[in-house]
Symmetry: C2
Subunit: 412 residues, 2 copies
């Protein structure tokens, strides 16, 4: 008998029929003897409907405190519906809002952080044989104000509850059946991973595999809560995300290939190469609230240097303007930019113990005549920036080069 | 500077535009220097939408506790929207759910009663110059479960808050501009009453003038909270409902004429006239959860009696069946019924000090050849049952006989 926290997102509870399917699934686990805490999001579309109403009365600038009072009702409706659906099936259940559990957060409305969870009520209910249904995404601050954790916060609620209850597993139900070696739409031979480490998942998530919210993975890693990604309405073991405790012989060098097209590249050329120039360039960018991802400074020649970085494409225009100003102040030669780039990364804890991973990557890309514009490496990741049009080709080539392709099935 | 509690029902906050109109109205009062607590209902249609969802997952039998979790979200959305609309207009405001105020109720889900209100938070906000927007219709029990007061409970919330805060007035905004001497659709000469007593209002409300919820009037009377009924979107003084403190010379004998068509009449004929027969007849009716309104037992002759009572028309079939059984058991002659009846009542505290009011009523009806089937009287009310087709005629005749008609205006 295990204690399992199960989280169902907005699509999984998007209609009355789906809520009933979720109730059936929970009932099966319960009949297996497991203790179940369910965390649910608002029915899909509901949060946007509420935000839209709020904007209508607020000239698009809803007061954060009141916005939380409003949008938190979305999950409140779902918990009641799911509890009703369970009780109708003979499964004792009870619903709680974030405030009722007492999920204590700070007071940062619309993006609050969980500080503490009172697990007493939940433990009593579990002991009494009840399934507990908790509203995701919301909490309450020390003054009794309703707070929300920001978009995707329901994953975080699930993990935080699992940590507080020392649950055996936190299952995140979603519209994919697990984490894949890369996007199957790009590489049909992509395979579902049985297991992946928190670290790898963080690199995969931040690089574009939008299966889980980053914050929830960080949280799970910090408290060592085993996370499992599963499909809401298909059977299957999903992908387990855990600490890297047992390195097996068969462990692949890399676990997956992540990519994204969300970035743009900016280069300031012919900057006088004096100490502190990096700060002089990036300081104003950061002051403009623009996040920088990859940064490369080329080797200096004739006392000037070229400085390149990437930003989110949405920030490209703003970053370019800031950089033009900086360029004038520093007496640089010119600012050039490129939005037609893509970032491709290989991710794997296996590369810690294997040399030559990066060169194998570069070799695979060279074979396809794909030019690498920027490179950045971390302990378990190598990222390159390439021309956007080569993205699919690059991902497929790397997937094959690192032996991630699924074996051809008979009849294929 | 007064402290005013203002309650706006579902129609008054039914759209974003109307919420903005309400915000404008509240702003004006605030600018007059009044302290304002606003109580709002769910946007019209929202509560039904939620109940409908609940029924879909529950085979039409939603679990009461979970239903309260759901439907309470309706008001929660409105409080946030109104607070946002006020803040946008430069009026400091804050919203509270029933739980946040702490409106403590018993645990009778879907029909809870208010036990206690913590006024500390509200007083602090008022002192700080904020308008406080409170969700009507909801509260929390001692275990932290969300409760609702049942349909129309927002009026009760308004009155209860006014009582707790010792407010100068509780204003109920609605879609009529006050309480009338009778229904203006039946009697075009009906007049708006400047003032009416709680007692009269209770008799008027229970008899079919559906302006205010009975419970809220009882509550207001008990705690002597001056109630004012006003139109949400028209200017005007409305009708003030208070204790009958100053009896003036001009006080009319009766204040209004109420009526309804919701009742049906049942008679059991030729019942052996033995002690306890009334209980033998009405006991089974009450056991079937059917409420009885008027009761008449005719004078006994040849040791049998005729016993007549009225029930809501919806209960007519059920009551008839129960009565047929009773008839067989008691050896009565027959059961007869009539659904084509109407009840007309004259209401007024003035009749306490004036004799002959009932006979004046009967005279007016006799003049129109309207036969009276049943009569029931209380200290401030005389009700008669007549054939339904005479209803309008009877109301008009009585309105004139008791000098309630508005004086013909010039040009009329």
């Amino acid at each position: 008998m295990a204690l399992i926290v199960q989280k169902f997102g907005g699509t999984s509870v998007g209609t009355v029929e789906r809520i009933q399917q979720v109730a059936e699934k929970v009932k099966k686990f319960r009949e297996n003897g497991d203790d179940i805490v369910v965390v649910v999001s608002a029915m899909s579309g509901e949060t946007n409907r509420l935000i839209d109403l709020a904007k209508q009365v607020s000239d698009d600038q809803p007061v954060p405190r009141e916005l939380d009072v409003m949008v938190s009702t979305g999950e409140q409706v779902t918990i009641a519906l799911l509890a009703m659906a369970l009780i109708k099936r003979g499964v004792p259940a009870v619903s709680y809002t974030g405030n009722q559990v007492r999920i204590l957060t700070d007071s940062a409305h619309n993006k609050a952080r969980i500080l503490q969870i009172d697990d007493q009520k939940l433990r009593n209910d579990l002991k009494a044989g009840r399934v507990v249904v908790v509203a995701g995404f919301q909490g309450v601050d020390e003054h009794g104000n309703i707070t929300t954790l920001g978009r995707g916060g329901s994953d975080t609620t699930g993990v935080a509850l699992a940590a507080a209850l020392k649950a055996d597993e936190c299952q995140i139900y979603t519209d994919v059946d697990g984490v894949y070696t890369t996007d199957p739409r790009v590489v049909p031979q992509a395979q579902r991973l049985e297991k992946i480490t928190f670290e790898e998942m963080l690199e995969m998530a931040s690089l574009g595999s939008k299966v889980l919210q980053i914050r929830s993975v960080e949280f799970a890693g910090k408290y060592n809560v085993p996370l499992r990604v599963l499909h809401s309405f298909q059977e299957g073991p999903g992908t387990l995300i855990t600490l890297d405790e047992e390195e097996t012989m068969e462990q692949p060098i890399i676990s997956g290939i992540a990519f994204n097209r969300d970035e743009a590249k900016l280069t300031i050329r012919g900057v006088p190469d004096i100490p502190g120039v990096a700060f002089k360039i990036l300081g104003p960018i950061s002051a403009a609230n623009i996040e920088v991802d990859m940064i490369v400074q080329n080797v200096s020649h004739d006392n000037t240097t070229d400085f390149t970085f990437t930003v989110h494409r949405n920030d490209y225009q703003a970053a370019q303007q800031v950089l033009e100003n900086t360029s004038r102040e520093l007496g640089a030669r010119e600012v050039v930019g490129d939005t037609k780039i893509a970032k491709v990364s290989i991710v794997g804890v296996g590369m810690r113990s294997h040399a030559g991973v990066a060169s194998r990557m570069f070799e695979a890309l060279a074979k396809e005549n794909i030019n690498i514009q920027m490179i950045s490496t971390s302990e378990i990741k190598v990222s390159v920036v390439i021309e956007e049009k080569y993205l699919e080709l690059a991902v497929r080539a790397l997937h094959t080069a690192f032996e991630l392709d699924a074996p051809a099935r008979q009849g294929d």
